[in-house]
Assembly symmetry: C2
Homo-oligomer: 321 residues x 2
């Protein structure tokens, strides 16, 4: 298959977004959005961000776009469009490249997103670069720098599931573990929290971040951007009941530093907490209060465990991964 017939094969027969005036087929796409526009880009390289041994091509595409959609959720934005640049090694059969695009299409369809551009080039290693574009009502974009003292810190879903899934994918005997399929699915096909994030538009002030590198990292980003201290209560950090079958040190590592759960962590004024719970109910999202925001001379994150308060560092942060 040459580039032309490949682009034809991924070209949509109709546009899902009414805002789109022109998708793939000219030098650029054209659209019109009356709200604020949100744009982010993320790149995934084989054997660094994913491995063929734990992901099928469909999952590679699904998860790559999920990570980008999660950035939109972290901004309070509705994902609308995506552009894909892909470097394809000659050893990859075109059918597997198509499967990557099918994976992206599967999650894009859930949000009526249109693929509006891209580039396919050959190279030595598979690299997928996605730009996602979304919209948010004017001045309703959610930033990390909006935490204030007295805020409640919340997180959606359960943490550490994706790392547990990755761990199980490295095991020959994964099936002896309880809920192995659940954890593996959470790793391969994570669900960004778009509906819940859009629900939060009812609130005047929310600081928000998505859990791509572990909550230790994300909580520190909020603390730094807002110049506040955040205290997390270890007992309250939500984990799946079957996570308890793994060694304690794994549990600790995964829930604080295990990335790629693509849950949301944020802070809201205490008075708005009941509204957040109502939005969670309405969007069938689990939400848990896990801490509080305090004034602080230096931005810091602590966790309290067995009545001991300890510093929580950005351990999840990786150099140039």
């Amino acid at each position: 298959m040459d580039e032309f017939s490949f682009i034809d094969s991924i070209k949509q027969s109709y546009y899902k977004q009414a805002a789109l005036k022109r998708g793939i087929g000219d030098d650029a796409a054209v659209f019109h959005i009356d709200e604020d526009i949100v744009a982010a880009t993320d790149t995934f390289v084989e054997d660094i961000h994913f491995s063929r041994s734990t992901m099928q091509p469909f999952h590679i595409g699904y998860r790559a776009l999920a990570a980008n959609i999660s950035d939109m959720a972290a901004m309070g934005a509705r994902p609308m469009f995506y552009l894909v640049s892909i470097v394809i090694p000659t050893k990859w059969p075109m059918e597997e490249i198509s499967a990557i695009f099918s994976g992206m299409d599967a999650i894009a369809s859930q949000y009526q997103m249109d693929l509006i551009g891209g580039d396919t080039v050959s190279g030595k290693e598979l690299a997928i670069s996605i730009t996602v574009i979304g919209s948010v009502p004017d001045n309703r974009a959610r930033y990390r720098h909006d935490a204030k003292s007295g805020d409640i810190v919340f997180v959606t879903g359960t943490l550490g599931d994706s790392q547990a899934g990755l761990y199980l994918l490295s095991k020959e005997n994964a099936s002896v573990f309880k809920d192995a399929d659940y954890f593996i699915l959470r790793h391969r096909m994570p669900a960004p929290r778009v509906e819940f994030s859009l629900g939060l538009q009812k609130l005047n002030r929310v600081s928000l971040n998505d859990v791509s590198d572990g909550i230790a990292n994300e909580a520190n980003e909020i603390a730094e951007a807002s110049s506040k201290a955040i205290v997390l209560y270890d007992d309250l950090i939500p984990i799946h009941s079957s996570l308890q079958q793994f060694p304690k040190e794994h549990q600790f590592q995964w829930k604080y530093f295990g990335g790629e759960d693509f849950e949301l962590i944020g802070t809201v004024p205490e008075k708005d907490w009941p509204l957040v719970q109502e939005i969670a109910d309405n969007t069938k999202t689990k939400v848990t209060k896990i801490g509080m925001v305090f004034e602080s001379e230096e931005p810091r994150v602590y966790y309290i465990k067995n009545n001991k308060k300890q510093k929580l560092y950005k351990h999840g942060y990786k150099h140039l991964k």
Copy 2:
């Protein structure tokens, strides 16, 4: 330098575009544009799209962004923002990566463009993926499918310069050639025709394409998208006077199939041709009438040379480059 200090080093101290509400520093950038929005993405891989033997890191960045800006010019759009994903092999010193970004910044500054996002990841080969976002007055985006019979076909600048430059860069004795520096500069630091393209907003109808793969390819794209025949007059194809020092077969190859000149080729109603010439004068752009558009049952491009009419194929097209 780790990823954090690198991102700090490329983070702008102020925003050039008033439309930008939030640049680098959160999960995504936020901006507001009242006009139609135009977006495109392009990827460049070492040893496929560029080589260290002919390009310094500064030029690699400059030319990569120039190619993207040229896509905006091809749409009649004003470039505003860009996002950069870069895969960096460990053998590349961080200083050279910074030089790539300096090259991008040099051309971005000419258009007051802001770098609003990106991702830096490690990998085996250098790959740069750029998404560029621009704006165009509502329904003034220029497409390939708008050519009508009787239109004049025009092209900006001179053709084949970039390929001549690449040819000279492969020669030990480049300096014996006339205007070698000119051709090499045209290859390394091409100038997209943004001002001229914006000037064309005065016209109601223009079909437009940029010359990234050679005019044979681009003219065929317009003919196909518009279902018309295009006839080009070989005598009229503009070349630099010093291109004549190269063998005739090189001249022919470069002017029709030599890509990366990033000139514009388009068609306009004959009555608007004087206005196009005026816009060219005002923006100090050379513009040349090179052909005409005709009705045709099948889309075709011909060129007339020595009173002989021959088919011109999309020879410049390359599979998955």
